[in-house]
């Protein structure tokens, strides 16, 4: 008959005390050893105290956990976005998310036109400064433009993606391909002349194309780069500048171009821009442009107000020196007149 293990297994401590087998010696070892005693009152009190302290800490734990989790998520998210931005992935991702699947022209490129409006150096007792046209530097040499370098690293970062191999995507339509080709000529190859031809060809072929407006904006950029300011202004005059992400920027450019011959309408552009709280770069240009135009029109009070605002906001701005000199000359003129 097969016996169960329970029948077979006897606790060693119950073996005969006088046995000589190894199991008997092990049993003697067990029998001769000490057994756990009662924990002391001090030990129990310590355990209880620590448990209570832990419960108090534990009540704060969920809040701490959520806070730590939120901080971790923010850190990881922020680091990821910054890393993506530094690697230039954002430039690729964001256009890919747009409905057109075509990269929009880079908004900063027409900043080359910021030199379009220049004011002549003021003389102490001379007439009010007059805006004078300045050449528009080429894209290839951003440092040569204007008096203030416009963050070449930012520009190169924004356009860097154009130098990378293109991702494999579904074949775009002929229209999109044509515009894409033209924009590449402009942005990547820096061949404004070829780009202008390609854009004209595109606009001829697709006069009502879905990307007509983008093409016309790019054409303005090309004209500005080619220093064909009058044609650029003509193009801008017929371009609707509302409801587009480049509206403000192009309105500043139009104002600067208009200022050469028509300060009244240029002032309207600058004024409209200033009501929209534009970014600092555009605000600086618009404020200076309006001030200069008002000065040219003889509106000394308005000009002085704009230029003071300009100096308050951009004490080291591109035109700060001129603005200070102009205000000083007006002050002297007022003093001598009074």
């Amino acid at each position: 008959m097969k016996r169960s293990p329970a029948d077979l297994i006897l606790q060693w401590r119950n073996r005969r005390p006088d046995g000589q087998e190894a199991e008997d010696r092990a049993a003697a070892l067990i029998r001769g050893s000490l057994q756990p005693g009662e924990p002391s009152e001090a030990q129990l009190a310590r355990i209880e105290q620590r448990l209570l302290a832990w419960r108090q800490r534990a009540s704060l734990a969920p809040l701490r956990l959520r806070l730590a989790l939120a901080i971790a998520v923010l850190l990881v998210g922020g680091t990821s976005v910054e890393a993506a931005r530094r690697m230039g992935w954002l430039d690729r991702i964001l256009p890919a998310l747009s409905p057109t699947q075509v990269r929009a022209p880079q908004s900063r490129l027409p900043d080359r036109a910021r030199g379009a409006l220049r004011l002549a150096p003021v003389e102490a007792d001379g007439p009010a400064p007059v805006p004078a046209p300045a050449p528009i530097p080429a894209v290839e040499n951003p440092a040569a433009e204007g008096e203030r370098p416009q963050h070449p690293t930012r520009i190169s970062r924004r356009t860097a993606f154009l130098d990378r191999p293109e991702p494999v995507i579904a074949a775009p339509s002929e229209e999109i391909s044509a515009l894409d080709h033209a924009i590449r000529l402009l942005r990547r190859d820096h061949d404004a002349g070829a780009a202008l031809s390609a854009l004209d060809a595109y606009l001829d072929r697709y006069p009502s194309g879905v990307l007509n407006r983008e093409a016309r904006f790019a054409r303005v950029d090309a004209l500005l780069i080619l220093q064909r300011s009058e044609q650029a202004l003509d193009a801008l005059e017929v371009l609707p500048l509302d409801n587009h992400r480049r509206s403000t920027e192009l309105q500043v450019i139009r104002g600067e171009l208009r200022a050469r011959s028509d300060c009244a309408r240029a002032g309207q552009d600058f004024g409209a821009v200033l009501t929209r709280n534009p970014d600092d770069a555009l605000a600086e240009r618009a404020l200076y442009g309006r001030g200069a135009c008002r000065a040219k029109q003889g509106d000394v009070t308005g000009a002085a107000e704009d230029l003071r605002r300009y100096l308050e906001r951009f004490p080291n701005g591109t035109h700060a020196g001129w603005a200070r000199r102009w205000l000083e000359s007006r002050g002297k003129a007022a003093a001598s007149g009074g």
Partner: protein, 213 residues
């Protein structure tokens, strides 16, 4: 080890070796009412402390383990449905916590090359002579040495074997009780006990050889 117990393998633990508080019977098995944490703590803290001392040995800090056991009890109390005897449930938790504590101590020892990890309330377990032992200092010294050797030999066993050996040979629990506590089959308990005994004897012989030489 799962938290759930097989109902057919959950015997009531004998109160005798553990000297559990009389309020042990009050709780889950007595009624469907959920026992409060405080009542469990008051009734069982001494028993849990003794189990922890037994499982850890005389040279380990047991206060941390007791604290951790009751933290687990507090967290898992809502899951306790009274399907098992509360002492079985507590024993099961204690065994697991001791196992984790010993694992941590081994890691600490491996990393630092010495001793246990520093604990907040280092407190040595108090081991006392059995009632039938002579009370003279010489016998106490010998018993203390035997206890040290016993746990030294036990420390060479794998964790599962060590636990099974201690519960059966030192605590005097039955195979069924050990199966309930460790969440294993009864047959597994016997296999582990058999291997633990073999290993124990091997290590004991090595110790005897060293002592005589």
């Amino acid at each position: 080890m799962g938290s759930g117990h097989r109902e057919d393998a959950v015997p009531k633990l004998n109160a005798a070796p553990h000297d559990v508080s009389p309020s042990e019977t009050m709780d889950a098995s007595a009624s469907s009412r959920q026992p409060s944490f405080e009542s469990i703590y008051r009734a069982h803290v001494k028993a849990v402390a003794r189990w922890a001392m037994r499982l850890l040995g005389p040279s380990h800090d047991f206060e941390d383990v007791v604290q951790d056991v009751f933290l687990v009890v507090r967290r898992r109390l809502p899951e306790f449905r009274g399907e098992a005897e509360i002492t079985t449930w507590l024993y099961e938790i204690t065994v697991r916590v001791v196992r984790e504590s010993r694992k941590r101590a081994r890691w600490w020892s491996w990393i630092t090359g010495h001793g246990q990890s520093p604990s907040r309330g280092r407190s040595q377990a108090s081991f006392v002579p059995m009632p039938e032992m002579p009370a003279d200092p010489q016998a106490l010294l010998e018993a203390r040495e035997q206890t040290r050797v016993l746990y030294q030999v036990l420390d060479g066993l794998g964790e599962a074997y060590r636990t099974t050996f201690i519960l059966f040979e030192l605590e005097g629990l039955s195979g069924e009780q050990i199966a309930a506590i460790t969440g294993t089959q009864l047959s597994t308990v016997w296999v582990r006990l058999s291997r633990a005994r073999r290993k124990f004897l091997q290590r004991m012989r090595v110790w005897e050889t060293r002592r005589t030489s």
